[in-house]
């Protein structure tokens, strides 16, 4: 339908990092005047591909062609000069400088004498913003604008660089609905001006509204590329997650045998709300029950987990343990009430790499192991020994720095940190991510065992199979609110994907603002 040559092309690009094949012979092509969605779950390789295209990384194999010629940009600056502009999720402009200065950052107009020509700069900045219907005082400092307008300024800057390709990485994550409309208007205008747009987002509705083409990556591989209109939302999700629609039978890993579940909820979560993040999340967890928390990236899974644990600020909402209110916004209160939380990112939020296995295990148990502020070495060593044995933690000694252990053993140390508190509710955010198959089976087995012992478990996992097999009930989140709940025989990958795509009862995408 379009005879034009592609403006941007990546051919069989491979990029390796130590221990990870981030991109595996991925090809991608973008025509002028096309809005192209780039989708995939966490770790699929979207950002790596963008970074290869914009010159942050050099590809190990394969080529990048821009305007028909092979290019190898040494830095994002080079690619920007050549005509590829990138707009990141976080706005990377200078907050203290004026809007106009930001638009012209690095290429300020000069007078005859080589001095800054502010008048011209302000005039031209106003022109550019005006052209795209962005209303802002160009002399005001950037930080005085709303986040959405700031994002628009970033777009204006990108456009005014005479970009032929604009890459937008989750541009709407901080925008209000009205601002999203403005952004889309700008994108359509870009399209009409024959600019190619690469659009990365997890908001499926947005993709269908603005994009014509879609490229799906999974685990560093290209899995699909074509017209977006040819895929239903459900098909798109199935492609992203790597599931055939027909393939719904439970696999026999034995994870998640049927369990006795207590009647009275041990944890009651009501109306967790945080602007732009969570919108009235409510659900219960009963003793002995594994509740899966499902949702696509950005649906609010981790935020819900953190909110229950007190580590995510809330505008409103209640958390009750065994009928008693737990003070929100305070991890120590949550811990005292019997809630434990295994964070998703082990490296940045879990382990304390320089400290020993012993110190890492007892990190959360410190108040219990000490009297008048003195650590009881005896109680500590007993506890550490018991849990290293129980979880089969392989370390040369309890004194070994935890940073030296394998991912699986680090995860067991993290589990030990929480299990030694004897919690009533355990929240696991991606408990098996980044650990080898053997350790994964051990961790899953442990979750089963704990639930049988009467522990209430909330489990977040990006692996559909894990959620479907491991959960007694699945709470599906979408755009920060509960889109549906599956239980019993309704828990299947197909039903789950359907709920992920369409939500249960109510559409609340539009009014998610307040």
């Amino acid at each position: 339908m379009n005879e034009q040559a592609p403006i941007l092309k990546a051919r069989e690009v491979t990029k390796r990092f130590p221990g990870v094949l981030a991109l595996d012979r991925v090809s991608f092509q973008l025509l002028p005047g096309e809005v192209h969605a780039l989708v995939g779950e966490n770790g699929a390789g979207k950002s790596t591909l963008i970074k290869v295209i914009t010159g942050v990384y050099a590809p190990d194999e394969g080529r990048v062609l821009f305007g028909g010629e092979e290019v190898s940009f040494a830095s994002p600056r080079d690619s920007q000069a050549a005509g590829i502009s990138t707009i990141y999720q976080e706005i990377n402009l200078i907050p203290m400088r004026s809007v106009a200065q930001n638009v012209f950052l690095g290429r300020e107009p000069r007078t005859r004498f080589g001095l800054l020509d502010s008048e011209r700069m302000n005039r031209e900045a106003a022109e550019i913003l005006g052209r795209y219907g962005i209303q802002a005082d160009v002399t005001a400092p950037l930080h005085s604008l709303g986040l959405g307008t700031q994002q628009m300024v970033a777009v204006a800057r990108a456009v005014s660089l005479d970009a032929r390709v604009v890459i937008m990485d989750e541009p709407t994550s901080s925008l209000e609905a009205r601002e999203v409309d403005t952004l889309f208007r700008v994108i359509r205008q870009l399209r009409d001006e024959n600019v190619g747009v690469v659009y990365v987002s997890h908001q499926l509705d947005e993709l269908y509204e603005i994009c014509e083409k879609v490229t799906v990556l999974r685990d560093g591989k290209l899995v699909h590329s074509g017209d977006l209109a040819e895929l239903s939302k459900l098909q798109l999700i199935a492609t992203m997650l790597g599931r055939e629609l027909a393939e719904v039978e439970r696999r026999a890993t034995g994870f998640g045998e049927n369990r006795e579940v207590g009647r009275e909820p041990v944890l009651r979560v009501r109306g967790l709300t945080r602007r732009h993040v969570l919108d009235g999340v409510s659900f219960d967890v009963r003793p002995g029950e594994v509740v899966g928390l499902a949702g696509l990236l950005g649906a609010g899974r981790s935020e819900t987990a953190k909110a229950i644990f007190g580590a995510q600020p809330l505008d409103s909402g209640e958390v009750q343990m065994a009928g008693k209110d737990v003070k929100t916004g305070s991890p120590p209160s949550a811990i005292k009430a019997g809630i434990a939380f295994l964070p998703e990112d082990r490296r940045s939020e879990g382990i304390i790499p320089g400290l020993s296995v012993r110190e890492n295990i007892v990190a959360a148990a410190m108040p219990r192991l000490s009297r008048v502020g003195l650590v009881s070495e005896k109680a500590q060593n007993e506890l550490v020994e018991r849990f290293m044995e129980r979880l089969g933690i392989k370390a040369s000694s309890p004194d070994q720095p935890v940073g030296e252990l394998s991912g699986g053993n680090q995860q067991k140390v993290m589990l030990a940190r929480w299990l030694c508190l004897d919690p009533k509710v355990l929240i696991l955010d991606e408990p098996t991510r980044g650990i080898d198959v053997g350790a994964k089976a051990e961790v899953q087995h442990l979750i089963d065992e704990l639930a049988e012992g009467g522990l209430g478990v909330i489990m977040i996992s990006s692996e559909l199979e894990e959620v479907v097999e491991g959960s007694d009930r699945v709470v599906v989140l979408r755009n920060g609110s509960v889109a549906g709940t599956l239980s019993g025989d309704d828990i299947s990958e197909e039903n789950l994907m359907e709920t992920l795509a369409e939500g249960g009862s109510s559409e609340n995408g539009e009014s998610a603002g307040e």
Binding site: F309, E349, I352, P353, P367, S370
Partner: protein
């Protein structure tokens, strides 16, 4: 140094760097002492030793607090100014008896430190900026307190704090020793010490483990300032006068150097109290070596600079992957 090129770090290079990082300060100390014992006349005498230790005492006391702050991945630039404030407060209140004067100095110093800590913990300021304010303003305030003049102190009991000897050992040295033992105990055996290391090692993980991150940060800066106050009181007693314009000048740099040379990384998560003691001693011995051999002091400063750079260079391996 030809090893430890960036990126590829072979195992044995890593081990050597690691060993040097952990033990370099002891080697440096041994070399310096040996050198002096052979070449410097009168070095190996008790008089020299005590003189050296008296010189070290205030630096060491300040370094102990600095080590705790650095353990949380922070820094405290204000210690010298806190010493000056202490030196100004003592002569003001010495009329009410020396214990009252010292107590007031301690309270004021600790509060100033708690303010530093609050700026870091609650306002989220960078430690270097948060403590810079007191660094700049504190000494000025102290000079205003004493009216810009040196205040002679004659209370004999107070002066004894800086000048007396117990069992032949100078009192400041004993005080520094006792404080070292206390801080060492706090780091190793108390929950507070564990919190300090956990916060410096991974603040997010520490917070998610339910640690009172903010309270600990406030306390760490308060302790640093309290220790600086003690150092200020001892220096004042030794000088027999409150003199905010000289007391504690540049001591923050000596303290940071002692801590870093002693093997406590600026990236936090580890505190070596013994190393800090050795670091302070190494710095003092270098000074003594040059002075006792009538060498220009400038060269001592250059040598110190080289040692600091070396220490930081060796620790660099820790941060990079």
């Amino acid at each position: 140094m030809s090893r430890a090129t960036t990126g590829t770090r072979s195992l044995d290079t890593g081990t050597i760097v690691g060993w040097t990082r952990d033990n370099g300060v002891y080697v440096a100390f041994a070399v310096l002492v040996l050198f002096n014992a052979i070449f410097t006349t009168n070095f190996a005498t008790t008089a020299t030793l005590f003189n050296l230790l008296i010189q070290v005492a205030p630096v060491l006391i300040v370094s102990l607090g600095m080590a705790l702050v650095i353990g949380t991945e922070g820094i405290d630039l204000s210690v010298g100014s806190v010493m000056a404030i202490a030196s100004a407060i003592v002569p003001l209140y010495i009329g009410y008896g020396w214990p009252v004067a010292v107590l007031i100095a301690l309270v004021v110093g600790t509060l100033a430190g708690a303010l530093n800590g609050s700026l870091v913990a609650f306002v989220g300021m960078q430690p270097i900026i948060a403590t810079l304010a007191l660094f700049v303003g504190g000494r000025g305030l102290a000079q205003v307190l004493v009216g810009g003049q040196l205040q002679i102190i004659s209370d004999p009991t107070f002066l004894a704090l800086g000048q007396a000897e117990v069992l032949g050992i100078p009192l400041p040295v004993i005080i520094a020793g006792v404080l070292t033992l206390i801080v060492g105990f706090v780091v190793r055996r108390t929950t507070f010490g564990r919190y300090v290391l956990a916060i410096g090692g991974n603040r997010a993980a520490s917070y998610l483990s339910g640690h009172p991150v903010r309270a600990v940060l406030v306390a760490v800066y308060a302790i640093s300032a309290a220790l600086a106050t003690v150092a200020g009181v001892l220096a004042t007693a030794r000088l027999s006068a409150g003199d905010p314009s000289t007391i504690g000048i540049l001591i923050e740099l000596d303290a940071i150097a002692a801590v870093v040379v002693g093997g406590t990384p600026l990236s936090g998560g580890k505190v070596s109290v013994v190393g800090t003691v050795m670091g302070a001693l190494v710095m003092a011995v270098i000074t003594a070596t040059f002075i006792m051999n009538d060498l220009p002091f400038t060269y001592a400063q250059i040598l110190k600079a080289v040692i600091i750079l070396l220490a930081v260079y060796i620790q660099r391996g820790r941060g990079s992957v």
